[in-house]
């Protein structure tokens, strides 16, 4: 499985650093513009995008509170209205509760939407996580650095990131607000070492944090808002133009078939009705309406007091066509008896056998043979029965 992990490089979210892993083995990293990621990421892969923690507001939730998500949202909105600089309604609120994490995350809707839109172009499976979750999974209280950002993760799952310029100010604030914050520091930095003298310092690569996250990320809050986006699903399931054309053709066929068949059936039915009326008009031009054709034709026949002919077609005429062979010099057909006498002159014996074998298929039965065979030629007469 190909996995791509993306970090922001600058405050603008366009410049990103892309780490590529295949089956948990690091392959490469490159810097690129987010608009170009579809050139590097395949649709059958997983993409992890890390939102800088400074772009979100995370709030620990009381695990003991049994409020539903809507009530929690309402409470957060009222509590945080004064703290959030932007209009609170412009933020997407994610409530995430499980046995390991009880957290609310607020992120600007338009920012998240623009990231999501750009990631959808890849057609890959998308995960969007706050950046501090990388170190949170390694050690809940921790600090590490990506690009120029120092990323703080707190034990409740909250987190923040700050650049080097404002690091000291932020550290003062953290120490004031969170007196018991004793993080594990995953980098060598003098300011951090001075501020957290009791903390353990461990140099850890971002790749090992990535691999740790890949294995454990499923309980984290995924900030990707899925939904029905045709272009994404087309790309995701690698639907090409031919597939689309076939699908459209199949659907069109399902719609067009009943409509066209109904139209044709109706037009043929009308044609039959018109022809039926026309037959009545030929019999009697004064007939104005045909309501029940069967009853009406029966009435006409009864009015003429006619004897019904049992059979109006001459049986055996088709058989005569089949017996149009030069060696059959004479054919005498008795219509009433449905029999025919054939006179043969010099018909090849194989040809004769072939003729006899074919007779049942032509509804003919051999009744009597009076034949002589000379030099492989058959002459004489046969009597055949004609069946309908």
């Amino acid at each position: 499985m190909h996995r791509y992990l993306l970090h922001n490089l600058t405050t603008s979210h366009d410049e990103i650093e892309l780490f590529h892993y295949v089956d948990n083995i690091f392959q490469s990293k490159k810097q690129l513009n987010i608009d170009d990621i579809s050139d590097h990421i395949n649709s059958d892969s997983e993409t992890f995008y890390f939102i800088p923690s400074s772009k979100i507001a995370s709030v620990a939730l009381d695990a003991s509170q049994k409020d539903n998500d809507e009530a929690t949202r309402a409470r957060l909105l009222s509590e945080m209205d004064d703290f959030i600089v932007s209009d609170i309604s412009e933020n997407e609120i994610f409530i995430h509760r499980n046995s390991k994490l009880n957290l609310a995350i607020l992120v600007d809707k338009s920012y998240l939407a623009s990231i999501t839109k750009k990631l959808r172009v890849t057609g890959s499976k998308i995960y969007i996580y706050p950046e501090h979750m990388l170190s949170f999974l390694k050690n809940e209280s921790s600090i590490f650095q990506i690009a120029d950002r120092f990323i703080f993760s707190f034990s409740s799952g909250e987190g923040f990131s700050q650049n080097a310029t404002h690091l000291e100010d932020y550290l003062k604030l953290v120490k004031k607000e969170r007196e018991d914050f004793s993080p594990k520091v995953f980098l060598n930095n003098k300011i951090l070492a001075d501020n957290f003298k009791n903390s353990e310092i461990e140099n850890i690569s971002i790749e090992s944090l990535h691999l740790n996250l890949i294995n454990k990320h499923l309980f984290l809050p995924n900030l990707y808002l899925s939904g029905f986006h045709l272009d994404y699903w087309i790309k995701r399931y690698q639907i090409n133009k031919l597939d689309l054309a076939l699908a459209i053709a199949a659907i069109s066929l399902l719609i067009i078939y009943p409509i066209s068949s109904t139209f044709l059936n109706n037009s043929y039915a009308d044609e039959y009705k018109n022809e039926t009326v026309s037959l009545f008009k030929k019999i009697n031009p004064n007939i104005k309406r045909v309501v029940n054709p069967r009853r009406q034709i029966d009435e006409i026949l009864n009015s003429y007091d006619l004897e019904q002919a049992s059979n109006l077609s001459i049986s055996g005429l088709d058989s005569i066509k089949r017996l149009d062979i030069p060696e059959i010099t004479k054919l005498y057909m008795n219509i009433n008896k449905s029999e025919a006498q054939l006179t043969l002159l010099g018909l090849g014996s194989n040809q004769y056998k072939f003729l006899i074998n074919l007779m049942p298929q032509a509804n003919l039965i051999l009744i009597k043979e009076d034949l002589e065979t000379n030099d492989g030629k058959v002459s004489g007469s046969i009597l055949i029965g004609i069946t309908n």
Binding site: P258, N265, T276, P293, L312, I314, L317, M333
Partner: protein, 152 residues
């Protein structure tokens, strides 16, 4: 519209999406059922119209046959004249019509078998009587036909 939808809460969005899906599915199902039930109805209508036509046609043939027979028995000369005209149309060679009290005998030569059999069928329609026998004698490609009708 999109903005109004985006400003809704996720629960409201989900409900709206589910409702829309149900409505769309309902419309598709109803239209599909309607289309295919119309097709079935039209098919039944066609079968009924065809069956009526076939019945009327067959009864009209009976009527025509009987009327032709009655007409021939009343006025055979007209029928013979019609047969003569038809024989010319079919380009029959050596066409001879022999009549006696109980029999009508037609003899002619025509190499085209198919056409010859059509002539016999048309003759039956004119006189309204089925032939007793048909004889085809062949010498190389020349075919001589003898058709006998019982006029009793």
């Amino acid at each position: 519209m999109k903005e109004i939808f985006n400003n809704l809460q996720s629960r409201e969005k989900s409900l709206l999406v589910i409702l829309s899906a149900i409505v769309i599915l309902g419309i598709i199902l109803s239209s599909g059922t309607n289309l295919y039930s119309n097709l079935q109805e039209s098919s039944q209508r066609l079968n009924s119209a065809k069956s009526d036509y076939d019945y009327v046609y067959s009864q009209a043939e009976v009527l025509s046959f009987n009327l032709a027979q009655q007409s021939f028995l009343l006025n055979a000369e007209t029928a013979y004249a019609t047969l003569d005209i038809m024989a010319k149309d079919y380009e029959l060679i050596n066409y001879v019509l022999t009549k006696n009290k109980s029999e009508l005998k037609m003899v002619y030569i025509l190499n085209d078998l198919e056409r010859s059999l059509l002539f016999i069928e048309d003759s039956v329609k004119i006189i309204g009587i089925m032939p007793l026998s048909i004889e085809v004698s062949r010498l190389n490609e020349i075919k001589r036909f003898t058709v006998i009708f019982n006029t009793n």
